[in-house]
């Protein structure tokens, strides 16, 4: 199989097991984002693919070739680091051409490739500058440029945007996505930022404690999170979790402190099998609504739910309510009402077709 594959990879640092056992296959020219909290093993995974870290056990294949014990330079990869890792003593052109010069490519070809990459990244005017004379965003582009000129089989990104300010980060995100389309190469991208993951990835790999929690398209992981970790990690603001119990013979509703929500038939059918068990109800902030906005729609899947609002954060398109349901703190994202009408405690609506249920013990989705 082409692409990149990790086969039963285990990584230990001394007695500490960082990756208990991991298998993952990434298809050719796929853009995969590995996301997870810090210390989840995502960077270690990337560094093992790069060959900067040895695996303790298992195999790594790149482009169908077993590269497990090959040094980085024989893996046909390019990598962009969080700190950009530019060579401070070389100018931009020198940085970008370094790999090609080492490979002994003819001068004309090197110049042509650097020129093309510089054009693509709008760096043409800066080729003679040293990294210290560039802004953060420009350094980031040089780091990208350095990997582009390589024309490697696989591109690895280790949190490349986390040192940039928010505005630049979002424009670089777009550029990276465009770049991926242009280059049509396998790209593996590590980040702790779920928005980067959601916006750029063909598929997202969500990791926690060295274990892959879920692999899927952005829509998959958002709509059908496999467990509470994934559900809480993907989505912003993150999902609210409320302890509850299933009601009725056919698990028609979930009831907890301060709320009772009917369940969609599909979910109820699944929940029935686990009836009697305690559950966690997962409510995404964006599935709350102001009552007035839904008034009159007859076939509504919305049910009433009481929120004790303590603070409303107005962010323009909507507002975030920091509130309580029963004793539990929740966040709700609702339409911004007229300014004269501050959001207050009272009845709100929740889209019951979007209720998630998790097993309270295992955390797995029902």
């Amino acid at each position: 199989m082409r692409g990149v594959a990790l086969e039963k990879v285990i990584k230990r640092f001394g007695p500490t097991v960082v990756i208990p056992e991991m298998s993952l296959s990434i298809e050719e020219s796929e853009f995969v984002v590995i996301v997870g909290p810090s210390g989840c093993g995502k960077s270690t995974t990337l560094r093992m693919i790069a060959g900067l870290e040895d695996v303790s056990k298992g195999k790594i294949r790149i482009g169908g070739k077993d590269v497990t014990w090959l040094p980085p330079k024989q893996r046909d990869i390019a990598m962009v680091f969080q700190s950009y890792a530019l060579y401070p003593h070389m100018d931009v052109a020198g940085n970008m051409s370094f790999a090609l010069r080492l490979a002994g490519k003819p001068k004309a070809e090197i110049e042509e490739r650097v020129r093309r990459a510089a054009e693509m990244l709008e760096l043409t005017d800066y080729l003679a500058r040293k990294p210290k004379d560039l802004s953060g965003g420009q350094r980031q582009r040089v780091a990208m440029g350095r990997s582009i000129v390589r024309d490697a089989y696989c591109f690895l990104f280790d949190e490349p945007l986390s040192n940039l300010d928010a505005k630049l980060r979002s424009s670089m995100r777009t550029e990276l996505a465009i770049l991926h389309k242009k280059l049509d190469r396998t790209m593996i991208y590590v980040t702790h930022d779920q928005i980067e993951a959601m916006t750029m990835a063909d598929r997202i790999v969500i990791m926690d404690k060295g274990i892959i929690q879920q692999v899927g398209t952005p829509r998959d992981v958002y709509n059908s999170p496999r467990n509470t970790f994934v559900a809480g990690f993907i989505g912003s603001p993150s999902m609210n979790f409320l302890d509850g119990e299933l009601r009725g013979e056919d698990a028609v509703a979930v009831k907890g402190d301060g709320f009772e929500l009917p369940l969609a038939p599909e979910l109820a059918k699944r929940a029935k099998k686990t009836r009697g068990k305690k559950v966690v109800a997962g409510l995404r902030p964006e599935h709350f609504a102001v009552e007035a906005s839904r008034a009159g729609s007859s076939e509504s899947t919305y049910a009433k739910i009481r929120l004790d609002v303590s603070v409303a954060e107005y962010i323009g398109s909507s507002q975030f309510l920091a509130a309580k349901i029963g004793d539990a703190h929740v966040t709700a994202a609702v339409e911004a009402g007229p300014a004269s009408e501050p959001m207050s405690s009272g009845n709100y609506l929740f889209d019951t077709s979007r209720v998630y249920l998790f097993d309270r013990e295992s955390g797995n989705a029902i």
Partner: protein, 311 residues
Amino acid sequence: MPLSDSTDGEQDDSGRPGFNIRSLNPYLFIFPAVLVMAGGLVYPVIDAFYLSFFDWKIGMPFDTAPFVGLSHFKRMIMDADVWESIWVTIRFGFWTILIEMVLGISLALLLEKPIRGASVFRTIFILPLMVSPVVVGLIWRYLFDARIGWINYYIGKIGIEPQVWLGDAELAFFAIVFTDIWQWTPFIFIIVIAGLQALPREVLEASKIDGANWWQHILLVKLPMIKSIILIALLMRLIDVFRALEVMYILTGGGPGRATELLSLHIYNRAFDTQQLGYASAISVLLILLVFGLSFAILVFTDPLKEKSDI
């Protein structure tokens, strides 16, 4: 606010623009250090310069010493002994610094990795730096001793004739070069290893991914990145070569003949053996100018402090 250009919006205490009693603070804090420097370094230099205009000998009250103007400097230009010791100093500096640099940098590159035992070896290795120069001189004088020295004993074991290390011009020169290398290679080593260990890990990894082999990794990435540190070490060693005195004084005293008489030792001998304090001062002015000129040239041509901001 047309007058105030202070960025923090603070008003001057005195009410006068451009003056703030607080702006004196930095000068107050460095004043003691400046005082020590001035007393310990600047004054002797100026005094040496002053003395060089007088024909003052030891034991003679200074006010009876005749003023001779620039005649010491004229004499110096024609003085073959001075030129010979400058030549000895240059040869000595060339060999010691060259070998110390190569050895120190190589060892630093080898011992930089956190391999087992490296830290122990690193510690042992810098011990010579902690030994006082006088002690170094004494130790090596015994080691090089023709009759009771260990060196002759051990080369005898492998079948080499005993040598009169400190009595032969070539061998004595070798001995002071060797001793200097023994004492000062650790200095280069410690500075370079500190520089290497401060290099950002990701840049070194990037070079591996870019395909650099071992040599390219060192020559094209690592060493250029610590260039400024290497240059500073080089500069300090160069200045030290002109200051080196104690070890050679004890080891060879400049002999046999003038074979190991470095410029500093020559000045010392002039001043305290032949008692020509005035003339010795004139030569030391030359020494100061040489050191100053060399340091200046290195700083101008390489500008290590500016380059440092690269990293």
